[in-house]
Amino acid sequence: MEVDLFQQGVDLMLFGMGTVFTFLISLVGAIYLMSWVISRFFPEPVQPAVAVQMAPVAVVEPRIQAVIQAAIDKHRGK
């Protein structure tokens, strides 16, 4: 009976460690494969870097700008 129990323990250790390593090694392989497949065939659409909008200086029409400038000048000239 005692030898039997010991034998069971040895079996459990060998099969247990064997399974843990086999499983995790196959998981390593599966992850590499998955990452390769995804990066190769289904890459995430690259988000174009959104250009930071500058203050829309040039959007103001020259004519309007001249009007504003005149108004400011008039204000300051008081």
Binding site: E2, V3, L5, F6, Q8, G9, V10, D11, L12, M13, F15, G16, M17, T19, V20, F21, T22, F23, L24, I25, S26, L27, V28, A30, I31, Y32, M34, S35, I38, S39, F42, P43, E44
Partner: protein
């Protein structure tokens, strides 16, 4: 006068026995460790209080319901009886907690560096060496453990509370109290147990090794990974499917990004509710006849041994991988393979910073850390399928 005598005979003072007094003291000790020393308080407060409740003489917290011959309910039984049977005997609470853990786990660092899974595998050596230790003690006639007991004791080395409770409730429910207390206490002691072993097995130069920055991992990889893991479990080791299946489900809810409400409930409200009941139910197994014996002392000793061997195996495996890998691997991350998320990874980071203040190992150690969770769940599956026949 008769009434007085009856009341007296039912009082706690009249019924108290030495064993229950000692167990209540154990319960207060657990509360002290949790509240004053901060040992895993989320678990040890409910476990400690449950221990006290279940040892109150005559309160009947653990009583089973009694039916008369025709099937009428005579007494409905106690609270703890129901909590234990609904939640732990059925295996439900540990699995729900595992779902929550899955929802809290970020597999990014692991996916960025899949090799670290091997560290999570190596650290499981502690589990199986401890099984041999328990079997050896039993063969020498020192203590009396069956192979089912030995497997339950070994799983303490998985450093994963729900896994330990799941395995023990399936294989040897009588040891549940001792195994759960050992598992959670040693997890709290990880910052004390691990560093001396890590320092002893590495040189100063090895501790200074800086690792290369992890690559960014795409959302698609993170969404596919839980399903990949589930598929592999289903094909290779279905006995680990309850644990890892719930884990993958939780993780998918986290990563898929369309069920944030469910993911939020799973990792907060639900896991908290279940933790309360899990703790109480574990406490309900802390009765004097099951806890106050030499076997418990053996379990506590073997459990500590399991942690030490697991840590050492992880560090040695990391040293081996460092020798053969093209990118440097700091051996300190190996100890994180014992799971105990995230404490073990923090310990790796801390020891690394002591050697080299510029060296942040935390993210690198999270890979083996979550690998350890998978590794111990796989080990649990093997044990359940190999041992439950005996």
């Amino acid at each position: 006068m008769e009434q007085m005598l009856k009341l007296w005979s039912e009082s706690g003072l009249a019924q108290i026995e030495a064993g229950t007094v000692v167990m209540m003291a154990v319960g207060f000790t657990l509360l002290f460790l949790a509240i004053r020393k901060g040992f895993e308080p989320l678990l040890l407060v409910p476990i400690g209080f449950g221990t006290i409740l279940v040892n109150i003489p005559g309160a009947g917290f653990e009583a089973a319901p009694i039916y008369d011959a025709v099937g009428h309910l005579e007494s409905p039984g106690g609270l703890m009886y129901y909590i234990y049977n609904v939640g732990i005997a059925s295996g439900m609470f540990p699995l729900i907690i595992f779902m929550g853990v899955g929802a809290m786990t970020d597999f990014g660092p692991l996916l960025a560096n899949p090799k670290t899974l091997l560290l999570g595998a190596a650290a499981q050596v502690g589990i199986f060496v401890t099984v041999m230790g328990a079997v050896g003690l039993s063969s020498l006639g020192i203590l009396d453990f069956s192979i089912r007991d030995a497997a339950s004791i070994g799983i303490i080395g998985g450093a994963d509370g729900p896994t330990a409770i799941f395995v023990t409730s399936k294989l040897s429910p009588d040891l549940l109290g001792a195994v759960a207390v050992a598992a959670y206490s040693y997890m709290a002691l990880v910052p004390i147990i691990q560093p001396p072993i890590m320092r002893a097995l590495t040189t100063e130069a090895e501790r200074k090794i800086e690792m290369v920055q992890l690559r960014p991992v795409s959302t698609r990889e993170k969404i596919v990974f839980p399903m990949l893991l589930l598929g592999l479990v289903a094909m290779l080791l279905p006995s680990a499917a309850p644990l890892l299946g719930m884990f993958c489900f939780g993780n998918l809810m986290r990563e898929c990004g369309v069920v944030d409400r469910l993911s939020d409930t799973t990792q907060n409200a639900l896991i908290n509710i279940v933790t309360i009941f899990l703790g109480l139910a574990v406490g309900s197994k802390m009765s004097a006849d099951k806890f106050l014996n030499w076997e418990t002392l053996g379990i506590l000793t073997l459990g500590a041994l399991a942690f030490c061997i697991g840590t050492a195996a992880g560090v040695l495996m990391a040293k081996l991988m460092n020798r053969f890998s093209d990118t440097p691997i700091n051996p300190l991350i190996g100890s994180a393979g014992v799971s105990a998320v995230p404490m073990a990874a923090r310990v790796s980071n801390k020891i690394g910073l002591e050697a080299n203040p510029q060296n942040f190992l935390l993210m690198h150690a999270m890979g083996p850390n979550v690998a350890g969770v998978i590794g111990s769940a796989v080990a649990a599956g093997v044990m359940i399928s190999m041992v439950s026949g005996y």
